[in-house]
Amino acid sequence: MPGLLKSVPVDDALRRAHDRHRPLVVLAVLGVLAVYVYLFTQAAGSVGLRLPAELAGDLGVELPAVFDDDGNVESNLQISLTDRVDRSDDERLVFFGALAAAFLCAYFLPLRYKQASLVLWATVAIVVLYGVEATCALLLAHFVVYLVLHPDRRRGLPVSAAAGLAAYLAFVHEAGAGLDRWVWIGLLPAISAALYRHALLPALERPRIAAIVQPAAVHSAILTICVGILAESRTGNAWQLPLGLLMFFWQWARMTMYYIDHRDGQVPSDLPLHRYLAVFVSPGAIPNWSWGVSIPQGYAYLNNNFLSRDKNDIVVDGLRLLGIALLYLVCWDWLRNGVSQWLDGLGIPVYRCNTRFLVRHFVAGAEVGTASVLLTTLLDLARFMLFFGSVMHFKVGVWRLFGYDVAAYYDRPWKATNLVALWGRFAFHYREFLVRAFYYPSFFRLFRGSRHLRVFVASMMAATVGNFIWHVSERVFFRELSVDDLMHTVGTWPYFVLLGLGISGYQLFRMLRKPTRKPWTRDRWIAGDILAAYCTLQFFGLIHIFMRPASGGTVGDLFRLFLIGFGIELPR
């Protein structure tokens, strides 16, 4: 699995050669989207069709825990962070509508308009789902980053004026009425353009200042966490961020990847605004926005994979992923329920296949056996993988519909025979983010004299330090900037340390002992592959005990429970 290196630049002439139309492919996409609309929205009822639950009843199919009260399929596919539209079903309907429109534009428009149309339709969807203020705050943040990373007087002045207008619409549009409003509308873009022309541009011409301003803009999410936590510790009040800025901060990983590309010279300095925005403001980014790990790719990867082979082949591959996602989305809860009830019936409690309930039970003083710990953590991992895989397949599938040949985020993780492979299969793009943002900087700077130490430290930097920092940001932004949330994440440190040690240990083992066969080759060693895959998944499931602390429990309690998984019972 070569990772990001697989992508190499493609020129526009080749893209045009790949941009051939096939009506059957278009019909197939619209058909699949219609199935999604039927299953996950209220559209069927509105046009007088049988609802999915009624249809399943007519067909004699019993799927407990699949349908919700209003007769359609309960879904993990969500429009996060907003309740502007009354029902989640309607939010999904808006999204699917924008998706269909964006697909048709990206498919049929000439090459030069494709990415701009994606930005346009994503913006329309975000305005409807999140409101004008949030959309403008999100765009304002991106305008600022664009101006800072791509300084240019001719291109920058209109963008800086647009940033002023976005600031007005996001933050001060209620400040006045009548004449005042028009004064604001005229004033803010003018001030913004003047600041850009006379302050920011000259400052960015000085390398030392640019070296501070550019990373500060890119990593504003992390800086905000630090300042917000400090502010709370002094004032006792947690910060509440405007929604649009929160949405921008959720793109920190993707922004970091963009910045790495920028520093590596892989982003053209004269990149037009719409091609910058196409990385961040695309319909593929909208579902489950608050799952920040989803496809954190920067400019180079997305650009290199845009129409990098025949458009229709990419779209069909996207449809395949949307089909698998559909299967996971519909069946995951039914499977979880069925397995949980079956094992409970056998007298092995698995706590609804949820490690959190297992931990709560143990912390409350109950006795827990090794079989329960092993099965609950393994089934929880399976539950989480189906849940996670459904959304990730959907998101990657959507990117592919637009002609981006994006690698699958999630690729049969149960086939991983070691922790390194598991990460590549379970969270491919997130792993690439950790490798580029944490592994490589360490690997190319620290301990260059010692091969093993160099690899060990770089692995720990990625799997432990980088992974931990990302989870801190996720936790803090998901709630609010508060010390409590920070401390909650800090308390999960054993997970990150054990994962880092597992990954680093395997890397060192691999350096010392080279593999002589590929896993899953059909020979007499395949039983070893099955055992290795089980051990990998079981270990990964067990360390999640530390990610699900219960109130009143200590890290010591979690270690006791973890060791019970190995058959070791320590006194409380």
Partner: protein
Amino acid sequence: MDASEISERIQCFLEREFPNEGVALALDTNLLEDWFIDSLGITETVLFLESSFGIRLSRADISGENFKDIESLSALVARRSAE
């Protein structure tokens, strides 16, 4: 050291460290598609290039263009050696 000698040493390394039965390794074999099995393979190749040719590579050198095949790796070594 000339280009052919560099290529030969890289080829020996790849065949020895990443045996790939059934695939013949040529100078233009696509390493990313047909040879490397994971990103650790790329890391080990970096370690090999640095120690064998006395060069220093940076993060920006880890690209699809440089790691495409033995010829592109050989060109990378030649560029860094000349610096």
